[in-house]
């Protein structure tokens, strides 16, 4: 039973890590390699507000931290990526450089050691079918389901969401219908960065706010997206469950220290068998041609 319960939890955690990355790629076609840095930035902002300003409300700290990260994401597009849009290698280099600057800047600025943490939303544990699970992990699963549903509704029934999908499906056709491509990309970067921040607020109470986590989150986000198919939301969720359960099964039946290897091995296998990922459509067409 613990394999099932912790498999689901681990999968939702991975999906959260990758959601923002997928959204930005699916709409703006920008591989945002600053994703992990934005994740840590949110956690650090929330920590600063909570620890440097006595009595600062946790909820307000969360809202401010996520909003600031969303604005940073929008600014990254507005001032940097807009100039190199469409040049994928340059986009990767630029976003990775931004991420590196943010993470190492935070380290240089004092984000070092194991004392930077965010509190659990609700402390304590509960027994589910005899398996001990802390409330924070249950909250993550609950909010995860709500978030995925909300994103689906947003992109299928909201005007802005439909515009985002329109650009993702066919940029030229969408532009002919009056949808502003750059504005859509700015919005997608803001939402994607905000989602990275949202994930940080939910997941960082399980561990620490440290620079290395930023790099790990980026690796996991890429692993999930490559396996699921870059830009595919369904693929992201499916891949999260594949890796999530594979890691738990590895831990239970093989050895704990192969967990990271599983994710990286899955990328290699996917690239060998189906380079476009499980639900990757665009590349698949190119492959057929």
């Amino acid at each position: 039973m613990e394999i099932l319960i912790y498999g689901i939890i681990n999968s939702v955690i991975l999906a959260f890590m990758a959601l923002g990355f997928t959204l930005v790629y699916s709409i703006a076609r920008v591989p945002n390699f600053a994703h992990g840095a934005l994740y840590i930035t949110t956690g650090y902002i929330a920590w600063v507000l909570l620890h440097k300003l006595t009595g600062f409300p946790y909820l307000l700290a969360i809202v401010i931290a996520i909003s600031v990260t969303a604005v940073i994401g929008a600014l990254i597009y507005r001032f940097i990526l807009i100039r190199i849009r469409g040049m994928e290698i340059s986009e990767i280099i630029a976003t990775y450089a931004i991420g590196l600057a943010i993470l190492e800047g935070l380290r240089w600025g004092g984000l070092r050691g194991g004392t930077f943490t965010l509190p659990h939303f609700i402390a304590g544990n509960v027994q589910i079918f005899g398996v001990s699970v802390d409330y924070q992990r249950l909250i993550i699963v609950g909010i995860g389901i709500v978030t995925f549903a909300a994103l689906y509704l947003f992109t299928h029934f909201n005007k802005v969401g439909l515009a985002l999908r329109g650009i993702a499906q066919d940029e030229r056709a969408a532009m002919m219908l009056g949808i502003d491509s750059d504005m859509t990309a700015i919005v997608s970067l803001a939402i994607g960065s905000g989602l990275a921040g949202f994930a940080a607020i939910l997941l960082l109470p399980l561990g620490n706010i440290i620079v290395e986590v930023g790099y790990n989150v980026l690796i996991f986000a890429i692993a999930v997206c490559v396996i699921g198919g870059l830009g595919s939301w369904g693929g992201t969720i499916l891949a999260s469950f594949i890796i999530g359960f594979a890691q738990i099964l590895t831990e239970a039946f093989l050895s704990t220290h192969y967990q990271m290897v599983v994710a990286l091995l899955a990328i290699i296998v996917t690239l060998l068998i189906k380079p476009s990922g499980i639900f990757g459509k665009q590349k698949e067409l190119e492959e057929r041609v």
């Binding site: 613990e2 912790y6 939890i9 681990n10 380290r107 070092r112 050691g113 194991g114 004392t115 930077f116 943490t117 509190p119 659990h120 402390a123 304590g124 544990n125 398996v131 001990s132 699970v133 802390d134 997941l203 399980l206 561990g207 620490n208 440290i210 290395e212 986590v213 790990n216 738990i248 831990e251 239970a252 050895s255 704990t256 220290h257 967990q259 990271m260």
Partner: protein, 419 residues
């Protein structure tokens, strides 16, 4: 015209005065400190070294044959604790300290064992006396000195090593076996060389002493979910969770352990749990964790008269208690060098080596003496005989020294759900 002559004369006088002041200051003795400054074992060592150097300089400096020379500390970031940074980078950093910064002595690191072992040849090449104070726990360091003294005689280490630490743990576990009837241990270590070696070492040591090691799990760096291992340890009835991790994420392990109210006592070598801020960071979930700080004085304790003086001085200068492994030993290394240079009456490496070998100094964590063959600090459970460990337990927000008995300030406590 007359005014300009006066002005010129005044400037000349001023220049002579300044030159005279500069001449009267003796050439500083440069201490090169190669440290991974972004990590606890680097930055706390840097703070310890600077504190000692400031104290010595404020008292006049190092007395060499009547002339007082100040210490000058040159720190370089070796980055050797960062994943993926090659050993060669740390060696370049050490060489830069020697060649560019003109370091007379090396104190502190390199911090990672592999880099420190590789740096031994460099120290021999440049004939630089070094006191290793932090990060390196491998017995291979002192063993190499013992096996090839003439080549590695420049290398000293004033902090403890794995065999001594394991002896401390075993004594503590023997006590728990006798007093509480504990006999099952579950080992959880990080997937890095020193932690795996520590885990294996403990597994072997326990197996021969009426203990049953019910399992050993190795976790990749960055793990934040230990639930499977913890649940497993509960099922297998472990009394002790023996941990060996230097990643900050290990804080999550203690949070999960506390939330699950597992009937096992966590103890071991855990970087994150060493820091004074760890209680706040875990919301008190680290209570009852037993941590080995390697050397005494890395947390407040009354080991020698100097211990609390050091603790207070550290708090005054840096605004917090000594932080963990590497703090007290780095501080002491500077005083050990001062003592040796003064006794040798020179900074000549061979004379300083002889002085260090014959040194007998009551320091922050006990009597400081180096083994003459291996240049390893002599370890003891009695501060009058040697350097003692800093084994503490988190109790009500404080790190309380619980071992060795001669310097313990409190007894080991069990969580209420274990009683």
């Amino acid at each position: 015209m007359r005014k300009s002559v006066y002005a010129f004369a005044l400037i000349l006088l001023l220049m002579f005065c300044l030159a005279d002041a500069a001449m009267s200051q003796e050439k500083p003795i440069v201490l090169g400190a190669p440290l991974a400054t972004a990590f606890l074992y680097g930055w706390d060592a840097e703070r310890g070294i600077k504190l000692a150097a400031d104290e010595i300089n404020a008292a006049g400096g190092v007395d060499i044959g009547g002339k007082k020379r100040p210490f000058k500390v040159e720190v370089i970031d070796t980055r050797d604790l960062e994943p993926g940074v090659p050993v060669a980078d740390a060696l370049l950093a050490v060489e830069k300290l020697i060649l560019e910064k003109k370091a007379d002595f090396i104190v502190g690191g390199p911090v990672r064992s592999e880099a420190a072992l590789a740096a031994m040849d460099l120290l021999n090449k440049h004939k630089k006396v070094s006191i290793l104070t932090t990060g390196v726990l491998t017995p291979a360091y002192s063993k190499r000195v013992g096996e090839n003294y003439n080549k590695y005689k420049y290398c000293f280490r004033n902090s403890s090593e794995v065999p001594a630490m394991m002896g401390d743990f075993m004594a503590l576990l023997d006590d728990l076996q006798k007093s509480k009837g504990f006999n099952k241990a579950y080992i959880m270590v990080q997937d890095v060389a020193h932690a795996r070696a520590g885990g294996e070492y403990m597994k072997k040591a326990l197996s021969g002493k009426k203990w049953e090691v019910v399992d050993m799990k190795i976790y990749p760096t960055g793990t934040t979910d230990y639930s499977q291992g913890l649940i497993d340890s509960g099922k297998k009835g472990a009394h002790i969770l023996f941990l060996w991790m230097d990643m900050p994420e290990s804080a999550a392990l203690l949070q999960q352990w506390s939330n699950m109210k597992l009937k096992s006592l966590p103890m071991g070598f855990m970087n994150a749990a060493e820091q004074p801020g760890f209680w706040k960071a875990t919301g008190g979930k680290c209570e009852f964790m037993v941590v080995n700080l390697v050397n005494g004085g890395n947390a407040p304790a009354k080991i020698t008269p100097w211990t609390m003086k050091f603790v207070e001085a550290y708090k005054k200068k840096w605004g917090l208690e000594p932080e963990g492994y590497g703090t007290s030993s780095s501080y002491m290394a500077v005083y050990q060098l001062k003592d040796a240079i003064e006794k040798a009456k020179t900074t000549d490496p061979d004379a300083v080596i002889t002085a260090l070998e014959n040194q007998d100094l009551m320091g922050v964590y006990g009597r400081m003496r180096f083994d003459k063959k291996t240049h390893q600090i002599i370890h003891s459970w009695d501060p009058k005989e040697g350097a003692v460990t800093g084994m503490v337990q988190w109790q009500a927000g404080k790190r309380v020294q619980i071992f060795p008995p001669k310097v313990a300030e409190g007894k080991i406590l069990l969580p209420p759900w274990m009683k």
